[in-house]
């Protein structure tokens, strides 16, 4: 039966090629524009660390004074942790794994002659970071908690930086010159660039930044290495609380691994207990229930990294698709009602209303499939143009198989949805009246 309907539909579509072409074009344009923006949104909100993300959480405390007032354009200082809080959580070891970290950019001087020094971004972190985020070592390994405590001058390089500095990746034991200091290379990890860089301070460009080296956090604080991102202080300059070690400046990010719901609940309780304790000590002024534990995806949703422009473009594209659909509804209505005679003959010969409905729906689905193919081509063109934008998310704009299939599903869905009203009207044609009029 379906084959017969498809055959009927093809004949009908071929009978009015201009109208068919118009409808395919309208669906194609609407789908192409929408899928371009849906894909951009999809890659921007996708899981940056599939497989591990479900185990990763980030704790947040609120050490701000009660009367602290944040400016409208400034970032929230309680997005990050202070040094005493980060060290407190680290030493408590209440999670399976935990690491404190901060970003930094250092001047790298290549060991090979003739190469210009260049700036490179990396991370100052505590020992657990490699196991916590599941980084893969190509050579050597990470440092230990003892190295953290001792402030050992060791470094783990990303493959790409090792090659750039030394011309090869197997460089364990060699000395890397970063900033004004020398570090012994103890490991090389495979290049790793989750997008967005979920663990970084949210004032940076998180879709294009990549860490090329990892240094012990204790070295960064001992040597006062430059730190990227937002460093918000709320004490006055004269008090002892300021500075990186101070209790009145937040600049550190903190991530923990929690494997079971019981562990998550226990950690959440621990954060509240910790805040109660700090409040009793007179450090925290705000309610302890301000302490929060975000899952990785929850944290990204909280940060809302999708720029306003992208959201606006998405709505624009969906609005355009809606106008295209309205247009197709009107055209299909005209097309179906024109075939009153044919429909009446089929009805008189015994076809039920639902048969007519199915036939017309299949005809629209065919338009949808053709429109989907055209839309796919247009979306690829759209994504190509997005990749040429100067924004930091541009390079991510690629379609994956899900989006590819989604294009056709959306196209067929849109065209069948558009055909519902016209098909329903066409079914209600009274065959006797129509045939008599002819």
């Amino acid at each position: 039966m379906i084959a017969y309907y498809v055959d009927l539909a093809l004949r009908s579509l071929r009978r009015s090629p201009v109208l068919t072409g118009l409808m395919v074009l309208a669906i194609g344009l609407g789908i192409g524009a929408s899928m371009t923006m849906i894909t951009v949104l999809h890659v921007m909100t996708d899981d940056p660390l599939p497989g591990r993300s479900a185990h990763l959480y980030t704790p947040h405390l609120d050490p701000l004074p009660r009367d602290y007032h944040r400016g409208e354009n400034s970032p929230d200082p309680s997005d990050n942790l202070t040094w005493p809080d980060a060290m407190g959580l680290l030493k408590a070891k209440r999670a399976v794994r935990q690491a404190a970290m901060a970003g930094g950019t250092l001047l790298a001087r290549p060991a090979q002659d003739g190469l210009q020094p260049f700036y490179v971004g990396g991370r100052y972190a505590t020992a657990d970071i490699f196991a916590l985020f599941g980084l893969r070592f190509e050579y050597g390994g990470g440092w230990s908690s003892a190295d953290d405590a001792a402030g050992a001058h060791v470094v783990v390089l990303a493959d790409m930086l090792a090659r750039k500095l030394f011309g090869r990746a197997d460089v364990v034991g060699r000395t890397a010159h970063l900033g004004e200091l020398d570090y012994r290379v103890i490991g090389v990890v495979a290049d790793w660039s989750p997008a967005p860089q979920f663990y970084a301070d949210n004032t940076g460009t998180q879709y294009s930044d990549t860490d090329r080296f990892f240094l012990p956090l204790s070295v960064a604080i001992d040597k006062d290495l430059p730190v990227n991102g937002n460093q918000s202080g709320w004490g006055s300059d004269d008090k002892a609380g300021s500075g990186k070690r101070g209790a009145e400046m937040s600049w550190l990010q903190f991530w923990v691994e929690l494997d079971t719901p019981a562990q998550v609940a226990a950690y959440r309780q621990y954060l509240v207990d910790y805040s109660v304790e700090q409040k009793a000590l007179g450090r925290f002024e705000r309610p302890p229930t301000d302490a929060k534990l975000y899952s990785l995806m929850g944290w990204l949703a909280h940060e809302n990294l999708v720029p306003d422009d992208v959201q606006l473009q998405l709505w624009l594209a969906l609005g355009f698709l809606f106008v295209c659909m309205l247009n197709i509804v009107a055209l299909l209505l005209a097309k179906f009602l024109r075939r009153g005679g044919e429909i009446s003959v089929r009805r008189a010969l015994g076809a039920r209303r639902r048969d007519i409905f199915a036939q017309l729906a299949i005809e629209s689905a065919l338009i949808g499939i053709a429109g989907g193919a055209l839309g796919l081509a247009i979306a690829q063109l759209g994504l190509w143009s997005v990749r040429h934008r100067p924004d930091d998310y541009a390079r991510l704009a690629q379609m994956d198989p899900t989006m590819l299939a989604g294009t056709f599903v959306l196209a067929v869905l849109a065209s069948v949805l558009a055909s519902l009203l016209p098909a329903w009207r066409a079914c209600r044609i009274a065959p006797a009246l129509q045939l008599k009029a002819q």
Partner: protein, 405 residues
């Protein structure tokens, strides 16, 4: 032309009429708001920097210790001035459309945050920088030799500064800003002059009204005023001068690192800074054109169908004495009616859409004059789209009336 028969005919095609009217309403709403957004972005792109952009370039180096700053500055300035075509090479910390280096909240009272003026950009400039920028002084005096105070980490402790007119009007409305004081924590500033226009480094990140809250702070070279140099040359020489200057850095100061990304002509900085806005404008216009195109095609499709359906009726009318013009005008009037219904709905929708946009994005109210412009555009579009099918209808011969199906 009688409207009654047209209305009667449309009543028989209520659904199709309503659909096209709705499509036009949506197109009208999107058209008005898209044009409004485009106008907003256009205004942003044409932000007046207040400086002589065509003659200026900026060159930035880093990778040296604070203790070397004085030495690097001396060598760089001497080296850059020696490049043929350079009219002047001076020190500056930031330029419009480049990276923001110094911005802070300032107040009317020292040390406190009670009488806040707002967050302003501090442009630190060495001797000669004010003149090189080409800023226009409208009140007060130019900085003198002893106004250039050293700045250790941020700005000079006690500075004689020039503010923009926009900032002066915001901070001291209705008063002369000359001689007025303001503070940033314990740093003190006294206004000695007012410049016409001078944009912040990143005007986009602030409200349009705050785009020019800039303070020109005369500063002695060294400390926080080192590593960034303003080159002035004749407009036709700027590109070449910057290229030569970049190449010369390796010779002038082999141990510093040239910041390729931030060393550009002011023209290029402006182009790059507004790139995303230009893309957005292109996108908005593209969607508007496509939407109007699809709407026009819808009108053509539907009218063609109606013409086909009414061939017999048209024939009868022609046989009864209606002229070709009558038939033509019939379809034109019909379209006018449908589009008018659409526009009426569309104006309401446009305002609704604007209200939604205002809620989620920082946007002002849609000015009323956008509505009649949108209406005219859609009336025109409707008439253009209907012309083809209507002309075909007017060529239906009267003899059709006498034929059976």
């Amino acid at each position: 032309m009688q409207i009654q028969p047209i209305v009667a005919a449309l009543r028989r095609h209520r659904l199709a009429t309503l659909l096209i009217a709705m499509e036009i309403a949506l197109a009208c709403a999107v058209l008005c708001n898209a044009f409004f957004l485009v106008a907003q972005r256009m205004e942003m792109i044409h932000t007046n920097s207040g400086i002589d952009e065509r003659s200026l370039a900026v060159l930035s180096v880093n990778g040296f210790e604070p203790s070397q700053a004085a030495d690097v500055n001396a060598r760089m300035l001497a080296g850059l001035q020696a490049i043929p075509g350079v009219q002047s090479a001076t020190l500056i910390n930031q330029v419009p459309f480049g990276p923001q280096r110094a911005a802070a909240g300032v107040t009317h009272d020292p040390g406190g945050y009670k009488k806040l003026i707002g967050v302003v950009d501090f442009v630190l400039g060495g001797p000669g920088t004010f003149k090189a920028l080409g800023l226009k002084l409208v009140e007060g005096r130019l900085p003198q030799a002893d106004d250039y105070q050293p700045a250790v980490s941020f700005v000079p402790n006690d500075a004689q500064v020039l503010v923009t007119r926009a900032l002066a009007e915001h901070a001291w409305p209705g008063e002369s800003p000359l001689g007025k004081d303001f503070w940033c924590d314990k740093f003190h500033f006294r206004v000695i002059g007012v410049v016409d226009h001078f944009a912040r480094a990143q005007p986009h990140q602030y409200d349009m009204a705050q785009a020019e809250w800039t303070v020109f702070t005369p500063t002695a070279p060294g400390g926080s005023l080192s590593g960034t140099y303003l080159l002035r040359a004749r407009p036709q020489d700027v590109q070449r001068v910057l290229r030569d200057a970049k190449a010369a850095v390796a010779k002038i100061a082999p141990d510093v690192v040239l910041d390729q990304e931030d060393s550009k002509t002011l023209g290029d900085l402006r182009t790059d800074y507004f790139e995303t806005d230009r893309i957005m404008i292109g996108l908005l216009l593209g969607v508007v054109v496509l939407m109007l195109g699809v709407t026009a095609l819808g009108i053509v499709g539907l009218t063609s169908f109606w013409v086909g359906q009414r061939r017999r009726t048209i024939g009868v009318r022609r046989a009864l004495g209606a002229t070709r013009g009558d038939i033509l005008r019939y379809f034109q009037t019909e379209n006018l009616l449908i589009v008018t219904i659409g526009i009426t709905l569309g104006m309401l929708l446009a305002y609704l859409l604007n209200a939604v946009l205002m809620k989620f994005y920082e946007l002002p109210h849609l000015p009323l004059y956008y509505l009649p412009i949108g209406a005219l555009a859609l009336w025109g579009l409707g008439q253009l789209a209907v012309l083809g099918p209507a002309l075909r209808a007017s060529h239906v011969p009267p003899v059709v009336a006498t034929r059976s199906v």
